[in-house]
């Protein structure tokens, strides 16, 4: 469940738009890692953020049909970072947000599971005809604030 948070001029916001193609996912995760480092997230937390953002972008590339770009927004709060990943593709809710069952090993389906495991709050908003918004939040450890 996503906690309601203040939005506006008081909240620093960094936004990057990437083409919805595999070779640009590295830019998204490096951007978020740079912001996270400035916020003094530790190395493990930055790795978690990088992976969650990459998984979200990969999910958008693989499932959001007819989406040309992905918008990544980082909002900086005192207690952590909110990351919003938005695409503009067509896709069903079921195929986009399904978290896999960790039973028999199989190819695919791990991305959403990892996002939910690595981030503190995760919320999907799927519109079948206008795209998907994934909002997630990573809390700063007490020692890092």
């Amino acid at each position: 469940m996503m906690q309601a948070r203040e939005v506006g001029a008081e909240i620093p916001e960094i936004e990057v738009r990437i083409p919805s193609r595999a070779e640009w996912v590295a830019l998204a995760r490096l951007t978020v890692a740079t912001v996270a480092a400035r916020m003094h997230f530790n190395v493990d937390e930055i790795a978690d953020l990088k992976l969650a953002v990459a998984e979200a972008c990969t999910n958008a590339i693989q499932h959001a049909r007819e989406s040309d770009e992905i918008v990544i927004t980082c909002r900086i709060y005192d207690d952590g970072m909110q990351v919003i990943i938005r695409d503009f593709g067509i896709g069903t809710e079921a195929e986009r947000i399904r978290s896999r069952d960790l039973g028999e090993p199989r190819v695919g389906g791990l991305g959403v599971y990892l996002i939910r495991a690595l981030m503190d709050e995760v919320e999907y908003s799927v519109e079948s005809d206008s795209g998907t918004v994934l909002t997630m939040f990573k809390r700063l450890g007490d020692s890092n604030r």
Partner: protein
């Protein structure tokens, strides 16, 4: 462009065992290259792999998918895959996903190769 890449090499150990060394980042852009590289080795009849990931700085679910796919293919031929990694983040991802129970992960190539004998 923020292009990542992956370097891949293979050598033979004890005849039928292929030691595949991966160096770089494995993500949605590079994982098809890894899949193709390992797939071609399987096509040529190699079914036993020690995959050295000590120089893999980053892996995501697409990379895990390639490893799972390779494992399933070699098992159909009675083969096996062992992994080499000491990277805590890599191990964490295998742990979270439960793949730590599927793959045997060793701290050195020698250990990974010996486990396949």
């Amino acid at each position: 462009m923020a292009r990542v890449d992956i370097n891949m090499q293979v050598r033979s150990a004890n005849g039928s065992i292929a030691v595949v060394s991966l160096d770089g980042e494995i993500d949605v852009y590079t994982s098809p290259k890894v899949k193709d590289f390992i797939g071609k080795l399987i096509d040529k009849g190699t079914y036993t792999f020690a995959i050295d990931m000590q120089n893999v700085r980053y892996i995501d679910s697409t990379g895990l998918g390639v490893l799972i796919g390779g494992l399933k293919r070699v098992r159909e031929h009675g083969g096996a895959v062992t992994l080499v990694s000491t990277n805590p983040q890599t191990r964490k991802i295998f742990d979270i996903t439960g793949l730590i129970k599927v793959f045997d992960i060793y701290a050195s190539v020698d250990e990974a190769v010996n486990a396949l004998k």
